[in-house]
């Protein structure tokens, strides 16, 4: 059974806040849910499926959120695989809708990571109870350190330069300048990135995403129902998900989950790389974008540093990428998969204003969750404003 064209994103909403010390996580989630339902022309009473997870949420947090909103859904999914979770939730919701388990799924996220001062990238890595943790945590891995080790190896194998990494951050800032909601909008240069302090070599401060507060939600429903709603449907054409880990000590660390999830998503959507008008790729760090584009097959392994140069990933380039400014410049409330979906929906509907990609019909969304240098997930979606 193919999901292609059967399910659509009918509503999408990004909470405008970047710092919300007077709001709770559930409040940001509820405000985001209201925004996405308004966008779709639906009400909370139309929701019969719920997907959520979060950095500030407990093990059974989805139950707490159902309690908070007095929801009694027929379908729940709190798959927690890091920042990619909401991208995976979208595929799970689509499968559930296509299978008749539910009709309209709310996927929602909120976080007060910044106002609560979570040191997500540079604190000790959370956890500690799993077998793998016993052989890692004593040595002081951090999230940024895990990605930095990928960058170091990529530079060693392929000659990727700090300037090439920095270019990803420079373009993100150019896009943020065209996004009124973005947190950092002042232009930066490659020199600024290289002059920012080293956090974990070879990654400088400006190679790293920010920590903000924020929230967002999307509403997913059957294509048939979406066609009768307020906004132009954003159809799901294909999806894939994958994990990579230390592989009993034998891992090739430059082979990331995107290679598998991307291949599945392209096969299932029946589209090719040249059909992609927009790529929304999780930019936790500049290196994440380069290795993700390689693993998704947009260029050969090792060519990512050159590939992103020359304006190619600008909103008016050959492969527009992260047109909202990404986690590097717009927002990053701990987990960013949600905002990849929302910007893709805005672009496919032609709502992106000054940064609108011309003739944007097919978008690829790829979330990375966890740590590239130890364990991570990848979730890929191919979305379109055409049913296929």
């Amino acid at each position: 059974m193919s999901l292609a064209g059967k399910v659509a994103i009918a509503g999408a909403y990004e909470h405008p806040t970047r710092f919300a010390p007077n709001k709770t996580m559930f409040q940001l989630m509820a405000e985001s849910a209201r925004g996405a339902l308004d966008d779709a022309g639906l009400t909370i009473n139309d929701v019969d499926g719920l997907c959520t997870t979060g950095v500030g949420m407990g093990w059974m947090g989805i139950l707490g959120f159902c309690d908070y909103l007095n929801l009694t859904p027929n379908y729940v999914d709190s798959t927690a695989i890091g920042g990619s979770s909401f991208v995976a939730h979208t595929a799970h919701a689509a499968a559930a809708i296509a299978a008749g388990l539910c009709e309209t799924v709310l996927i929602v996220y909120g976080s007060t990571a910044a106002s609560q001062r979570f040191a997500i990238g540079t604190g000790g890595v959370a956890g500690g109870g799993e077998p793998c943790d016993q052989y890692e945590l004593p040595f002081g891995p951090t999230t940024v350190g895990s990605y930095a080790m990928i960058a170091q190896r990529h530079m060693y194998d392929y000659g990727t330069t700090p300037e090439q990494l920095a270019e990803v951050a420079v373009v993100a800032r150019q896009h943020a300048a065209m996004n009124p909601a973005a947190k950092y909008r002042e232009p930066i240069t490659v020199g600024d990135v290289l002059a920012s302090r080293m956090v974990s070599s070879p990654l400088h401060l400006l190679d790293c995403c920010m920590i903000s507060d924020g929230g967002g939600a999307v509403v997913v429903t059957s294509a048939e129902r979406a066609r009768d709603l307020k906004k132009k449907p954003v159809y799901l054409l294909g999806a894939g998900e994958a994990v990579r880990h230390t592989a009993r000590g034998m891992r090739d660390f430059l082979d990331i989950a995107a290679a598998q999830s991307g291949r599945l998503a392209f096969e299932r959507a029946g589209v090719s790389h040249s059909d992609i008008d927009l790529a929304m790729v999780y930019d936790s760090f500049t290196i994440t974008v380069i290795v993700t584009l390689e693993n998704l097959g947009f260029c050969q392994r090792g060519e990512g540093g050159a590939f992103i140069g020359g304006g190619r990933i600008r909103y008016d380039g050959g492969l527009p990428l992260n047109t909202d400014g990404g986690g590097l410049s717009s927002n990053h409330p701990g987990m960013r998969g949600m905002f990849l979906l929302i910007e893709a929906a805005r672009q496919l509907r032609g709502e992106a204003g000054q940064r609108q990609v011309r003739e944007c019909e097919v978008a690829l969304v790829h979330g990375t969750g966890g740590n590239l240098g130890t364990r991570h997930s990848g979730a890929t979606l191919i979305l379109s404003n055409q049913a296929g």
Partner: protein, 139 residues
């Protein structure tokens, strides 16, 4: 106990599955495991082979030598036990036997660390109970 009270970094939790490996480290012996049925090597230690689920395991004594597969010099870590010792080098070392293990590179300046550098194990007795396998440039 006074020594353990001063040591602020995370310590491994020992259980019946991993205790032989940690006890060997305390004797300053670094082991890998190999499946007796399918020959797959593995690091970290576990009770069953992940390739074939066999419980039959041979313990292979590592020669403690390898080379740096990748690394990062950590300049920022807010966690207690690390923030006092910045910068430090986090690395994957590829052992001669083939497995890659996360570790620290010690006894050298961070700027001397490069991918491919030959290294040798250093047994760091961090508490009276726990020894960690770290690495330094090979003589």
């Amino acid at each position: 106990m006074a020594e353990q009270a001063r040591y602020l970094k995370p310590l491994p939790h020992l259980d019946e599955e991993n205790r032989p490996w940690w006890e060997a480290l305390k004797r300053h012996e670094l082991y890998l495991q190999q499946c007796r049925d399918c020959s797959a090597m593995r690091y970290y230690p576990r009770a069953l082979c992940p390739e074939c689920l066999s419980p039959h395991t041979d313990w292979i004594l590592s020669n403690g030598r390898g080379k740096i597969y990748t690394f990062t010099v950590t300049y920022q870590n807010t966690a207690a036990g690390f923030r006092e010792f910045l910068p430090y080098v986090l690395a994957y070392v590829e052992l001669d036997e083939g497995c890659r293990m996360l570790t620290n590179i010690v006894d050298c300046a961070p700027e001397q660390v490069t991918i491919g550098l030959p290294v040798a194990v250093v047994f760091d007795d961090v508490t009276s109970e726990i020894t960690l396998a770290k690495f330094r440039p090979a003589p």
